[in-house]
């Protein structure tokens, strides 16, 4: 694998605009290269905006999911490049695993490396994993694996990948009202300006009835609600189920007795609609 070090993070609005205009993608091989950003200083004001929006206290510790936001422009750039076999526009984030080896602080200078692997058949299309690795002073400190699904003519015989545990039942631990502009607010902080999140109009153009919440926001909000359990060196594994159509009311359900801990988000009005399931170990 070759390493391509970029001088600065690719601008996401440009990556998405180019992807929207490009021809459809084919192929069976993933690019054999990793994109890298070296010696990235942390912008404390940006961390504070992220912490505020996702429900964390504002402090110097980087939230569990924060490095994903820093690595996402590299993911998008790789997936938007001409030699990538799946189309960036319309990719659905179906699963994510994050392992924090040691808590990161705003004083750390991060190296970020992103590569793609595990192009696989799926009953509903094809999936690919984008792996983000973060190092500080040459030591691996954080790793994220994002699984995206390109919907298409799938292989009914293909395995569906890892299956989540059942969503906890019972009373809601918390109930959140998610405003209609949540997608725009998260886009402003994360740079993820995928049109499916921005407005009902742009979401409809992509086949959704209204704007949908960013999966990474629902993931982050769930983790922040878990408090201490989601801090420090832990691994989280999330499965994104039905999208959250904004505006929405959602219930957080937690089974603290389960090992590993299981949490879920479900619709308040229609509890059968499950938005995500998450384990923490």
């Amino acid at each position: 694998m070759t390493f391509e070090t970029l001088s600065h993070a690719p601008k996401l609005s440009r990556v998405f605009a180019r992807a929207a205009l490009s021809r459809s993608r084919t192929g069976d091989t993933l690019p054999d290269r990793a994109l890298r950003l070296a010696d990235q200083a942390i912008d404390r004001d940006h961390v504070a905006s992220y912490q505020r929006l996702c429900g964390w206290d504002v402090n110097d510790v980087l939230p569990h999911t924060y490095p994903h936001v820093l690595g996402f422009p590299l993911q998008a750039a790789l997936m938007g490049s001409p030699d990538f076999p799946l189309p960036l526009m319309g990719l659905v984030h179906v699963e994510n695993v994050i392992t924090v080896q040691r808590p990161l602080t705003a004083d750390d200078r991060l190296g970020l490396t992103v590569h793609a692997e595990r192009l696989a058949a799926h009953p509903k299309g094809r999936t690919v994993d984008l792996v983000t690795e973060v190092d500080v002073d040459g030591e691996r400190v954080w790793e994220g694996r994002s699984t995206y699904l390109a919907r298409g003519s799938g292989d009914p015989a293909a395995e569906r990948g890892s299956q989540p545990p059942g969503i906890p039942t019972g009373f809601a631990t918390a109930q959140w009202r998610l405003p209609a502009d949540l997608g725009r607010r998260y886009a402003a902080v994360s740079g993820d300006v995928n049109p499916i999140h921005l407005s009902a109009l742009t979401a409809r153009a992509m086949g959704f009835p209204s704007a949908i919440a960013h999966g990474m926001w629902t993931y982050a909000r769930t983790l922040s609600a878990l408090g201490r359990a989601a801090q420090g060196p832990v691994t989280s594994h999330v499965w994104f189920r039905k999208p959250v159509l904004l505006p929405a009311a959602v219930d957080l359900v937690v089974d603290p007795e389960a090992t590993p801990l299981v949490a879920g988000l479900r619709s308040t009005r229609t509890p059968e609609i499950e938005h995500l399931v998450l384990t923490l170990s």
């Binding site: 404390r44 504070a48 206290d57 402090n59 110097d60 201490r228």
Partner: protein, 435 residues
């Protein structure tokens, strides 16, 4: 008739100060501009929890407060505990006594420990002058409440039409006294004039405060009292190179005319910050392998009638201290350290001058003889609010933790006096003894 077994000891036990932690104080709209009171208090608690290995520990209680508070922060201390590494089963409550908040919180906790009602706890405070609550004009507020009360869309619309463009206005908190309309600085300027406090004396006290705090940082005294926050590892207001020449160039900020003496250099700036103090019983400290730094001996709170001009707004500590000394059978000279909160340099100087004044001590304090002078080399030896800054409710915790450490270094039996003035004409004072 059987006698019930006593559940608590009938004689009070000693309350120990075991340590403390604060975040560096930042100037208004500085690095903490985006941080809320809850963020800062949680950071101060978490720093202390990490230092003393208290993660997951259930403490007897956490008592803290903020002077300027959003209405949504009604349970500020409890919410901060829930966000911290302490066990979520730690109870917490809020208190508020203006700039006396932090010290009053420590008094409340010390009393509960002494009575055996709790074995351990945190006392602290936090204030932000940056993330201030904004309220709408009183006219608009009353009309909006009317809209809220109206039943049905029609009535609500009708109520809405009652709002006039002239009703719109926003108000931020001010440090003016509600009953006099004067700012604290204006009040202090009157007192400074009454006691003939010179510009030079004020500037000298300010310069010494900066030099003392800078030296405290340089020799590592603050290492186990402060944890960095949002990129700040020292108090932002601290100017190690402060000099009489530089301070002399500043224009008066309070008072009027040629005789005005109070400047931005010898008055505390608006700041953001938080502090907490760890206290407990002797047994609890031993069980947790913690060293007792100092004993929380006694405290007194006084208030003066500043509204009708009988006394200066910030002079209440001059009344509280002689009452406390009498109760403890001590004289003003029986201390190794004096921590007199520097709201303004003139506050400290007026207080000291009042205690030296025969007429004041006789007529106002009812004493046979003046309390006398103190050895100025024992005053605010590691700097105080003029250098560190003064996030109102956080000052008490800063002083208690630092003084306890100084007394522990000095040795058992050493004594320290804390004096803090507060808005509303109040003063909170306390005595600590080295362990």
């Amino acid at each position: 008739m059987p006698t019930p077994a006593p559940t608590t000891s009938s004689t009070p036990r000693r309350a120990a100060v075991l340590g403390g932690n604060r975040i560096p104080f930042a100037r208004q709209f500085g690095p903490y501009a985006e941080a809320s009171n809850q963020d800062m208090l949680t950071a101060a608690i978490d720093g202390l929890v990490a230092r003393y290995g208290l993660a997951g520990e259930r403490l007897g209680e956490v008592v803290a407060g903020a002077v300027i508070k959003h209405s949504r922060d009604f349970n500020l201390a409890r919410e901060s505990v829930l966000g911290s590494a302490l066990a979520p089963t730690t109870p917490a409550y809020d208190v508020q006594q203006a700039c006396g908040t932090g010290l009053q919180a420590a008094i409340l906790l010390a009393n509960k420990i002494a009575l055996g009602q709790v074995d351990s706890g945190l006392a602290g405070g936090v204030d932000t002058s940056s993330d201030a609550p904004i309220t709408v004009s009183e006219k608009l507020r009353i009309k909006l409440l009317k809209v809220n009360r109206a039943k049905g869309a029609k009535n609500q619309l009708l109520a809405l039409t009652g709002i006039r463009p002239t009703d719109f206005g926003i108000e931020t908190p001010s440090n003016g006294e509600p009953r006099t309309g004067l700012s604290m600085g204006e009040h202090m300027a009157q007192t400074a004039k009454r006691w003939g406090i010179t510009r030079e004396a004020q500037d000298e006290l300010a310069m010494t405060s900066h030099h003392n705090l800078a030296a405290a940082y340089d020799r590592g005294f603050q290492d186990d009292l402060v944890t960095s926050f949002r990129g700040l590892s020292r108090d932002q207001n601290l100017r190690p190179d402060s000099s009489m020449e530089k301070l002399a160039t500043l224009k008066p900020a309070f008072g009027k005319g040629e005789n005005a003496t109070m400047t931005a250099g010898n008055s505390t700036p608006l700041t953001d910050g938080a502090s907490v103090v760890l206290m407990g019983s002797e047994e609890w400290a031993a069980e947790h392998g913690l060293t007792v730094q100092a004993w929380f001996v006694d405290a007194e709170t006084a208030a003066v009638d500043y509204v009708h001009g009988a006394e200066g707004l910030l002079m209440a500590p001059t009344y509280a201290v002689p009452r406390l000394l009498a109760r403890q059978g001590l004289t003003l000279q029986d201390f190794d350290y004096y921590e007199i909160h520097e709201a303004f340099a003139a506050t400290v100087l007026s207080t000291l001058k009042a205690w030296e004044d025969e007429d004041f001590c006789r007529d106002r304090l009812g004493l046979e003889a003046p309390l006398g002078s103190i050895d100025r080399s024992k005053l605010n030896v590691n700097g105080s609010s003029l250098a560190a800054g003064h996030p109102f409710a956080a000052t008490g915790g800063r002083i208690v933790a630092a003084l306890a450490k100084m007394l522990h270094e000095k040795g058992p039996g050493s004594r320290g006096l804390i004096s803090i003035c507060a808005a509303g004409g109040q003063g909170v004072v306390a005595i600590l003894e080295g362990a």
